[in-house]
């Protein structure tokens, strides 16, 4: 398994896992296989120090107090990292999960805000993840703010977005500036190709490295025990990416 060419999603998994190192408890929403795989990879590397809660999983779900527990647990400060996505994400870190046009008669309707308006405030390290990186998804200003990227200083907000990972690049987010900074571009991309596909303005340092590829140890771990753990929770994803069944 370690011999195959490195796939883009493996790069995404590895780069997100790096962001999670040192977290004590990472929670992952349902239907988030790339972040889920990243969390399970980071856990495998943590020597048992990291707890991973995957909503919708039976095996990786430690909650026993009903649907509210994830949110209460976050408010208690017991969740260190979480992932959010958006139908639209803008340059101020706002995400839109509601739709485009008048919400009462939308042109495009997304599913809804889920817990984003809450978890974006409560979890210290929120990682925004959206594979589709186009001017359609990464917009100057979202049509509807499901969760704001930043808040006024007087607002209680222990957490917020810290990074954005897409199919093309990795950005860091500065809450003080309310602005992203390009950190790396994935293989096949340049700062220029990324800029052309991004609808919002952001900081670009003088040198932007390529997103690091997972090393052989990481690949072996990912394609071995982590892939098997992923397959339990995201069978379709694991089959497609690694050709393995649960």
């Amino acid at each position: 398994m370690t011999e195959g060419a490195i796939q883009i999603r493996e790069i995404l998994i590895a780069v997100i896992a790096d962001m999670l190192d040192g977290c004590g408890h990472v929670a992952v929403g349902a239907s988030s296989p790339v972040p889920g795989a990243a969390a399970l990879l980071a856990q495998a590397r943590s020597g048992g120090a990291m707890r991973v809660s995957v909503l919708g999983s039976t095996r990786h779900n430690f909650f026993t107090d009903g649907g509210r527990e994830l949110f209460d647990c976050a408010a208690q400060g017991r969740i260190d990292a979480f992932f959010l996505s958006g139908g639209q994400i803008d340059g101020a870190g706002n995400i839109n999960l509601v739709g485009i046009g008048d919400p009462d008669r939308p042109k495009v309707r997304f599913p809804g805000s889920f817990g984003s308006a809450y978890l974006a405030f409560m979890v210290p390290k929120v990682i925004l993840f959206r594979e589709e990186h186009t001017p359609r998804t990464l917009v100057e200003k979202v049509d509807f703010v499901s969760a704001p990227g930043t808040s006024d200083p007087g607002i209680y907000r222990p957490g917020g977005p810290r990074a954005l990972v897409t199919g093309r690049a990795v950005f860091a987010f500065s809450p003080d500036e309310a602005r992203f900074t390009l950190r790396s571009v994935h293989p096949g991309e340049t700062p220029e190709t990324v800029a052309a596909q991004t609808g919002f303005a952001y900081n670009t340092p003088d040198t932007v490295p390529q997103t690091p590829l997972p090393d052989n140890d990481t690949l072996a771990l990912m394609r071995g025990p982590v892939a098997r753990a992923v397959a339990e929770t995201y069978p379709g994803f694991a089959a497609q990416l690694w050709g393995i069944a649960a």
Binding site: G66, R68, P111, P148, G154
Partner: protein
């Protein structure tokens, strides 16, 4: 003592009047698809759904059949099966009132109803456009702020008229075992009335079973139960059976097209399973 009435599914469904503010479980918890099918066949009207806290197949089916006037939810989606087609179509046509929320608000609103308090404060959420669209959510200054202004959101109690869900088992006294699906207990506490379908009715007294008692809704909160084996088909039931993936994919397909949905609903009318 007298416990909940034990009915058949038709009589259980008949206890849900048109116009009811009806709390339903999310797809991953206990969905009473057997009762939903009866409501579809009846063409129930004017239901005001409360999704706890998100909705999927149940809501989309009911919306498609014209049963729903309004839905409060943190999201409506068929999950990995894609968008909720009937929900989206109804919204685009202006035929449905969507009260957009976020998950913890719905949990907190139900907890407020459970505690008999008019509102509950919640951190976060401020600055979301959700707040502007919910005049029933209020922002006050936290009376416990140490210094300066500390705005905090208040959300009102959510008191469903009826909570409807499906659970693995009830005992003869009408106590309902729910395992870790504690949102079902919250629904039963918060709602004025609770109707439950179950896979089976057993002779064991759950409240006398040291292992299960702590994960059981006491009959006190349950108005009536009905037995419906595989009553959560096709979405599946925790701890019992998984989703019928082919049926869910078929439904997702049908939900995205008026004619296909009409054909799907004809099958329901003809007495097919929800999954047909």
């Amino acid at each position: 003592m007298t416990g909940p009435a034990i009915l058949d599914i038709a009589d259980l469904a008949a206890r849900i009047p048109d116009g009811t503010r009806l709390a339903i479980a999310p797809d991953y918890s206990g969905c009473s698809m057997a009762v939903i099918r009866t409501l579809l066949q009846r063409r129930a009207r004017g239901l005001r759904l409360v999704a706890v806290p998100t909705a999927g197949f149940q809501a989309d089916m009911l919306i498609g059949a014209g049963c729903v006037a309004e839905i409060e939810a943190a999201a409506v989606s068929l999950g990995e099966y894609g968008p909720a087609g009937r929900f989206n179509a109804a919204l685009r046509a202006g035929r449905l009132v969507m009260r957009d929320a976020t998950c913890p608000v719905i949990h907190a609103g139900l907890q407020a109803a459970e505690k008999g308090i008019p509102f509950m404060p919640l951190r976060g959420i401020l600055g979301s456009d959700l707040v502007a669209r919910r005049p029933d959510w209020k922002v006050i200054d936290n009376p416990y702020a140490q210094a300066g202004n500390d705005p905090i959101l208040l959300v009102p109690a959510i008191t469903p008229e009826i909570a409807l869900f499906h659970a693995p088992a009830a005992d003869r006294d009408g106590n309902v075992f729910i395992g870790v699906r504690r949102e079902l207990m919250l629904m039963a506490h918060a709602a004025r009335r609770t109707l439950v379908s179950v896979e089976r009715i057993v002779d064991t007294d759950f409240l006398a079973d040291e292992a299960r008692a702590g994960a059981t809704i006491p009959a006190l909160y349950v108005e009536a139960i009905a037995q419906a084996a595989r009553g959560a088909d096709p979405v599946g039931l925790f701890g019992a059976y998984g989703p019928d993936e082919a049926a869910l994919a078929d439904y997702a397909q049908a939900s995205r097209d008026d004619a296909a949905f009409a054909a799907w609903l004809e099958n329901i009318d003809a007495g097919q399973m929800v999954s047909a």
